[in-house]
Point group: C2
Chain length 199, copies 2
């Protein structure tokens, strides 16, 4: 493939941190985290890989931090009307979908990268509970428990537990649609367990 750098360089929309992160997320969603390399990212941006370092001086580390921030920082609506149970149920559903849509970054969310992303989310959950009348200590525990559950459940879900499906099929005979786990229903049920346990 032949390039015409000087011509392309002028007609291209310039590089930006925003565009780099979004392109990287697109690669991870489409091909997996293992195929996200600086060189491939450069190709997708129609730029030499080394140009990325001008916008992200800390290199790939900073790129991965940006991905985590982009998917894990999704706070609950602290000004929403209604019971806190409903507000948190709605948040949890959205957050789960977000994590599943970008399952490739889940391992990064779990690693130490980018403390701020999850902390903002955690603070919003605590705020919803406090405004709903839950005591300070119980709110801190519940916020942590809820976020832990949502992340942990998403992790189990992503792994796709084929054997779990097989076990359910054996236990339930031939009823239903063939024994496949209904993840939506199971998530909602587990969410009920968690929210129902908050005092």
């Amino acid at each position: 493939m032949v390039r015409q750098p000087s011509i392309n360089a002028q007609n291209r929309t310039p590089l930006s941190t925003e565009r780099i992160i979004e392109t990287a997320l697109h690669i991870v969603d489409g091909q997996g985290l293992g195929r996200l390399t600086m060189r491939r990212l450069g190709d997708a941006l129609e730029v030499e890989a080394m140009a990325i370092y001008h916008h992200l001086p800390r290199g790939k580390e900073q790129l991965l931090d940006g991905l985590v921030a982009h998917v894990a920082a999704a706070p609950a609506d602290t000004s929403a009307a209604g019971r806190w149970q409903d507000v948190l149920r709605a948040w949890a559903g959205g957050y789960r979908e977000r994590l599943l849509a970008h399952a490739g970054v889940l391992p990064l969310v779990v690693t130490r990268r980018n403390p701020a992303a999850l902390t903002a989310t955690l603070a919003s959950l605590r705020e919803v509970l406090r405004r709903g009348g839950v005591a300070e200590d119980a709110a801190a525990v519940a916020a942590h428990t809820l976020l832990g559950y949502v992340i942990g459940h998403a992790a189990l879900e992503v792994r796709g537990t084929a054997e779990d499906g097989a076990a359910a099929r054996i236990a339930s005979g031939e009823g239903g649609e063939g024994g496949a786990v209904d993840w939506d229903a199971r998530f909602r049920a587990g969410l009920g367990v968690v929210l129902g346990g908050v005092r």
Copy 2:
């Protein structure tokens, strides 16, 4: 460093899958997942990196699968006496410690690798609940919820949320030992929320 291959090769305990996995886990625990390379693992085993492929034909993929199996496959004691709540509380405490002791492999547990490891653990939780008199459907939900919570909480804990500690310090004034989060207490409290929600 000069080697004497023929002499060393004879005096060394031979390579085995067991020894390879354990040495790899030692590297991950001590230096982090990012520093686990086939060449470094070979050095630690006092062997050329390529010798590992003779025991793990699928290479690094198989090595990582082995690490997950080694830490994530820790089923509950299905024949334990006492209330199921106490059995599961004990299991959860042990499993959490296991995950925290090998925090470097948590990202691997979260990824698709090795479905069998978590499935065996999940089945044991369901069995404890069923023997305790919980209905089939509720047991499946509770097992999933519990495992999800323990993994998710461990993930939050590993990230060490420094900002969370700062927020708690502001909210609580100068009481206690300086406002640091008591992770043990928080884990137990969250566990109470989850177990208390099971019908």
